[in-house]
Amino acid sequence: MKVHAGRFLPPIEEIALEKSPVPPQIEFCSVTKMYGTVAAVKELSLSVSRGEFLTILGPSGSGKTTALMLLAGFAAPSEGDILIAGKSVAAVPSYRRDQGIVFQSYALFPHLTVRRNLEFPLEMRGMKAAGRAAKVDRMLERVHLSELGGRMPSQLSGGQQQRVALARALIADPPILLLDEPLGALDRNLREQMQGEIKSLHKEFGKTTICVTHDQEEALTLSDRIVVMRDGRIEQIDTPEALYDRPATSFVATFLGEANILENPGFKIETDVAQPSGTVVMIRPECICIAAQTAPKGAQAGQRQSVTGMVEDMIYAGPLRKYHVRVESSVLIVREHVPSGQQIFEPGDEVQLDWLRSDIRLVPA
């Protein structure tokens, strides 16, 4: 059987016979973008394979939006090249790149109805009116907006606007989908719902998707891989689990979730391997167990380290309880699930903390 992989790629059978591997769908080759004397993106190299969901995560000013703009064709790299399906797109204007983009503000055309908004990309690709109508109907149904085709964007709720924006980006069936902070403007509940929606759309349409966000939860939930950027450079690329479990730097450790970074803990921390110089100790708050001082040692005592400390603060957060515990000169954050049937400690209580030695990570400072 001949499977067509996409409009830029030869059928899979043929590729398999060739010696060269499948070119990545998107490839950044040492791309630098200067704004005046400031480099927004520095020597960015990155490759994304077909059908992958990749999230670029970073604080504001980290260059993640610039990277997306370069890919979308709204800015030109100062140095380096960007390849799509193996071909340089340096000279290809945005309107010939065949990408779907969901903008942070959605950028729905305020003077056109929902239907006309969805038709726009089809019309620009020269599709006839009849074909357009059928496609729009199907897409509206897919995003559960069949009733709202005649409305103006201003008459839609935030979540509905978001869905129109997604539908408009997908309707012309571009091989690449770019999402710019897609859920930034939504409230929390809606955001979770839309995360599910984006995930299922990705599964269904299988587009190579690049998402830019500063929301770590969004990144962890949606992505196959995450790129953490800082000051225009890549800090780490990996799967969500690997990033969380084995952060390469203390920046990644603190940016993705909460972390106890112990530079000068004031007490001896036992590690399985000798701590190399220039590294610090990192342990996640949920890896630390808290117990009364008198509590007996549990199982695996040999693999655990335990220390004593004093509760400085207790924060109740619904399903969780967070303690700040002073141990010698450092304060450790400890996170406990509430229904664990454990004792609740008050500030001033003497407690015993312990953790698995294997949960200790050594990261470069």
Binding site: T65, M69, A72, G73, F74, A75, A76, A91, V92, P93, S94, Y95, R96, R97, D98, Q99, G100, I101, F103, Q104, S105, Y106, A107, L108, F109, P110, H111, F120, P121, M124, R125, M152, P153, S154, G158, Q161, R168, A172, L178, D180, A185
Partner: protein, 589 residues
């Protein structure tokens, strides 16, 4: 007593002084004028009949419409690309170009008209140049022809067209254009399908403003146009100044007003034009019912505010192959337009330093004789002093009354606010000549014709409208929760206004005062009708332009052209200061 107290607490009461002035000087006389035109109490259309029975009148009427339509069309055709190119320019260049558009906008109408007389006249710059080059043997008549009329009118109206367009274009979210491109729209398609429809509100307000002003315009047409180019407003003004046949004046005035009303209703009375853009969820609140002049205030703000750079900034990168030519054409176009807007002023300024007995260009020698003549001749300096006195009085009165009214209006229900704002703005949205005739009638009743008080009153009705527009626009961006916060700290309404609201809207108030002064200082249509023995500077210039060729007027015009620079500096200082306090705010809170 209780109802009176209740009334006193109602915000609408704050608009009473403004409406009182408006009614006495303009509102009541307009209604009287309408009744007169209808032959009240008998009520008949005999006066309108009489108007249309005279072929000369009908010819003038059609000519008025034709000239207004053509001038508006020319302004749009030149103004739209200019506005587009200004918005597309880099931030620094954009600021420079905006200032270059603002300078003629704020420059005295008479000074600009005079400049064209100097350039297009029989012994003017162009004729002299052609004669010197030997291309012609006798001077060609340019002035007093249709061509000169259009050149002058377009010159005056162009900034009025460009500014609302720029204002709307700056408000367009760049990500919309980026979105269109990402969906495969070529630059031209993105322009037609997305950019142009989104700028329609700007086109509409620009066209309406220019057209209505053209309708009631008579200074420039009379100075530059020939006898055959008479406009209805010229005819009305002549009627008022000669024999007073009130019925026929009233009928003519209302026919002119009728045309304006028809055009307004065709293009839609709501000239704020923000409804279509309300879709942007991220867009901050904007005054939605403010007529187009609100753009002016917004515009000044935008001039000095840091350009709201969206994250998908304007660097819509174009591959090298299709950018070059268009850039050259665009740069050339903007240069020509800027030259057209500013060149006449420069010519007059250079000529004003001439040493000869008549004006020449280039001057054979340099001297300050015309400036000396201006300051030593009381018929010039005296009128200037009168104008300043009247202007300051108008500015104080209308800023006070107008700010109160704007504040009162901002606290009333939107529907009522829209209606009342429209009424307050009639003095600047009605054709000038109609306002002039009505005010004339009103002041005759009050016995104030030919007095400074009368002039102050007449100018104030227009100036109040400017203040209301500008202060309302500022109030629309003012966070009402700050007042609630002050009240929660036990500040009374008056204390809240003085300590919180007023300091925060001060830039708008100062801007309003400035425009009130400019309006009065430059006013000539009303003044010529109600001024009588009081001579203002514009009246003296108008007289000089028509009767004598006293080169002193060149010095006066040059001085008046320097004023806008002063205004811009004043506005800059005001807005810049407000910006710096706004910037300091976040870390403190």
């Amino acid at each position: 007593m209780r109802t009176l107290q209740k009334l006193g607490r109602m915000p609408i009461a704050l608009t009473v002084p403004a409406f009182a002035i408006l009614l006495v000087a303009f509102g009541v006389p307009v209604i009287q004028l309408l009744l007169t035109s209808l032959n009240a109490p008998a009520f008949s259309v005999v006066n309108y009949h009489a108007f249309f029975e005279r072929p000369a009148n009908v010819r003038v009427l059609f000519q008025t419409i034709e000239i207004s339509v053509v001038a508006t069309a020319i302004c749009l055709v030149i103004g739209y690309p200019t506005a587009y190119l200004i918005v597309a320019a880099s931030k620094r260049l954009r600021t420079v170009l905006l200032v270059l558009v603002f300078i003629p906008y704020l420059t005295s109408l008479l000074a600009r008209t005079y400049a064209w007389i100097v350039i297009l006249g029989d012994r003017g710059l162009i004729n002299n140049l052609l004669l010197d080059l030997g291309l012609i043997s006798t001077s060609v008549p340019i002035i007093y022809s249709g061509v000169a009329l259009y050149i002058g009118m377009v010159h005056i109206m162009l900034p009025i067209m460009i500014l609302p367009l720029i204002s709307v274009m700056l408000g367009i979210d760049n990500s919309l254009i980026a979105a269109a491109r990402s969906m495969g729209a070529r630059p031209l398609a993105a322009f037609w399908r997305v950019f142009l429809p989104l700028t329609l509100p700007g086109i509409r307000s620009g066209v309406l403003l220019v057209f209505v002003i053209c309708l009631g315009f008579y200074i420039t047409p009379q100075a530059l146009g020939g006898l055959r180019d008479a406009l209805l407003s010229t005819v009305i003004a002549a009627q008022v100044q000669s024999a007073l046949n009130l019925e026929s004046i009233a009928a003519s005035a209302f026919i002119l007003l009728g045309i304006a009303a028809v055009v307004l209703s065709i293009f839609g009375l709501d000239i704020s034009g923000k409804q279509g853009l309300a879709a942007q969820p991220t867009r901050g609140s904007r005054p939605s019912r403010l007529p187009c002049l609100g753009k002016l205030a917004q515009h000044i703000k935008e001039l000095f505010a840091p350009y709201r750079s969206k994250r998908w900034i304007a660097e819509l990168y174009q591959p090298a192959n299709d950018g070059g030519w268009w850039q050259i054409v665009g740069a050339a176009f903007v240069t020509v337009v800027m030259f057209f807007l500013l060149f006449p002023g420069l010519v007059v300024m250079i000529m004003s330093f001439g040493a000869g007995t008549a004006l020449e260009f280039p001057p054979s020698g340099l001297s300050l004789q015309w400036y000396r003549s201006f300051f030593s001749n009381p018929s010039w300096s005296g009128t200037a002093w009168t104008s300043i006195q009247i202007g300051v009085a108008v500015a104080i009165l209308s800023t006070f009354v107008g700010t109160l009214a704007a504040y009162g209006l901002s606290n009333t229900v939107p529907r009522l606010r829209g209606l009342l704002t429209m009424v307050i703005l009639t003095p600047i949205t009605f054709p000038a000549i109609v306002v002039g005739v009505a005010t004339y009638l009103g002041l005759v009743k009050l016995g104030l014709i030919g007095t400074k008080t009368g002039l102050i009153l007449a100018h104030s009705i227009g100036s109040i409208a400017f203040v209301v527009v500008i202060v309302s626009a500022t109030l629309a961006n003012f966070d009402r929760r700050l007042e609630q916060a002050a009240q929660s700290m036990t500040a009374g309404p008056l204390q809240t206004f003085m300590k919180v609201t007023l300091p925060l809207i001060r830039p708008g108030v100062i801007g309003g005062a400035l425009f009130a002064f400019i309006h009065s200082f430059d006013e000539v249509v009303l003044s010529s009708l109600v001024g009588g023995a009081v001579r203002t500077l514009p009246l003296r210039m108008w007289e000089s332009m028509r009767n004598e060729l006293d080169p002193t007027i060149a010095a006066v015009a040059s001085l008046l052209m320097l004023l806008p620079v002063l205004w811009l500096v004043a506005l800059y200082v005001t807005w810049w200061r407000s910006r710096s306090t706004a910037k300091q705010a976040p870390p403190n809170t």
